[in-house]
């Protein structure tokens, strides 16, 4: 059985956070809302100066900030970009982010960057490939690397494992954390016809360092992870189940399309707080 001090790989529970987005910055700095922490997209702050870094410094003055990325491309077969890692490392010194998260995916090849989060084939080859690279990244950045499950819209003929077995094998072999995106589990379960509860129940609980919640867009034949709109009830149910398994884990609301007023986003964060408290009480 997992003992409490092993949970989250010993990393802190930051509570409930939201993504730091430009349309909200001024209001956040003026009103200092009750949010436990903010997540930033690292790439938006890899600039020499100006407004982005000024906003970041203002946020850092009052809140913990965690770095989340979209460009690591940990599963790509092209070499790791050490210039990018150096820049991430410099930003980590500024943010003091307790961990750095990115996606268990690939984003492109040597000649094309799709700026998308493409799923990997769930194979032994991919496990070895990703785990090797994740260890190098973790060693280079000197903070725990936390990998997030992505939403996917296709499955590969070469896959030999379930997505959750693949995720588990990668993070165990790489000795890194999991950012469990509960909405992504729901989206992929609907797109590929698996049981989302089986996924939640199989993830190595002690490695779950952070949780993402978000809305999505249902196109009928498939669902896209658009980070738009509120979290839907089946995703809240999955979140309850997840908290019941993994305990008090830093949770973040993502909302990137049709960004609502800050009050709406904060209300969604408060709902997450309530659901999390209920789930923790129930688990006790």
């Amino acid at each position: 059985m997992t003992t409490p001090d092993r949970m989250r790989l010993g990393l802190p529970d930051l509570g409930i956070g939201v993504g730091l987005r430009v349309p909200h910055c001024q209001e956040i700095f003026e009103t200092r809302p009750k949010v436990d922490w903010f997540e930033i997209i690292s790439e938006n702050f890899l600039v020499p100066g100006g407004v982005p870094l000024a906003n970041l410094d203002r946020a850092l003055a009052h809140y913990p900030v965690v770095q989340h990325g979209v460009s690591l491309s940990i599963g790509s077969t092209t070499p790791l970009d050490f210039t990018f890692l150096r820049d991430l490392r410099a930003l980590l010194r500024r943010t003091k982010s307790p961990w750095l998260s990115d996606h268990l995916c690939w984003t492109g090849t040597a000649t094309l960057n799709t700026h998308d989060l493409l799923p990997l084939p769930y194979t032994e080859e991919a496990i070895r490939h990703v785990a090797t690279r994740a260890r190098i990244v973790q060693d280079t950045l000197e903070v725990p690397l936390v990998l997030e499950n992505v939403s996917s819209y296709l499955t590969y003929t070469s896959s030999e494992l379930t997505e959750w077995d693949f995720l588990t094998a990668v993070v165990e072999e790489a000795n890194c954390g999991v950012l469990l995106d509960v909405n992504n589990i729901y989206v992929s379960s609907q797109n590929h016809g698996f049981d989302p509860l089986a996924y939640v129940d199989a993830v190595p609980a002690h490695r779950v360092v952070q949780i993402h919640l978000a809305g999505h867009t249902n196109y009928g034949d498939y669902i896209i992870d658009t980070h738009s709109g509120p979290v839907i009830d089946p995703v809240w149910d999955l979140y309850r189940r997840t908290i019941g398994r993994v305990g008090a884990v830093s949770t973040l609301i993502e909302w990137d399309e049709d960004i609502p007023p800050l009050a709406t986003l904060l209300a969604e964060a408060e709902r997450a707080r309530v659901v999390r408290e209920e789930a923790l009480s129930h688990a006790k």
């Binding site: 890899l46 460009s71 499955t155």
Partner: protein, 280 residues
Amino acid sequence: MRNDLAAVQAYLASVIPGSAPIPADPALAEAAACFVTGNARLTPAAQVDIYRRQFWLRHRELLRDDFPGLAHLLGEERMDAFCRAYLDAHPPAHAPFRRMIEDVPAFAARFDGLEGVAPRALVVDMARYEIALLDVRTGPDAPPLDPQKLTSLPEDAWERARIVLHPAALRLSFTYPVHRLRKAWIVAGEPVVLPDAPAPVKLALYRNRDLVTHFEELEAEAFLLLELLAEGVPLVPALGRLAEPLPEDRQAHVATNVGRWFQQWTTLGIVVDVDLPASS
């Protein structure tokens, strides 16, 4: 056919940037079935096609976000055509979006869909200006000028003192006044009216101490002086080089106005330091 990790990625990278639907192309659809399973609702080609559509929508939105002035200038349909052609010619190869857009002005200079839409020089100027705006907003920071430093300079210092300009400030020359057009269309919401003729302009584009971006139109001599200062030429020699080729009346104009220019650049935050090298 190989279907290891590298083969899967090479296949998807070869089809995702395409513009034609994958299910409509028998060869691509057949290849998709080698790598992708499909499901009860979607064929393998239809699954891959989701990523192709997302690629287009994502990058179109990105280009529209970074180039709203260009989008106003070209109109909805022509902007879409421009984005398609640009992505075909310059598929994004790097993660930073700034690198993805760096070829937009050069591409605008040769894009063949501008006939009857707008003068090419205007389109190129707008693309250059919008990239400059992005660069000024995120360029390096610099502490403001310490006024004490100016007052404490010895009288002969201007012979050798290097005027340090804000590292994020840019000096720009355009054939058309794109800064005013963009402001009218994007900020003031005025309808797009194309200028009848070129109206060359020189600008300093900078951000103030509140990090708000502004432009300042410059006289030709003021622009040249700023260029010399940016190269590291001290003020007095820079004025000498500036004045040398000028007719007398323009030399007198410079002499009359240089103090005002310098004061203005200092006030605006374009001048951030005066570096006085140690005497040898």
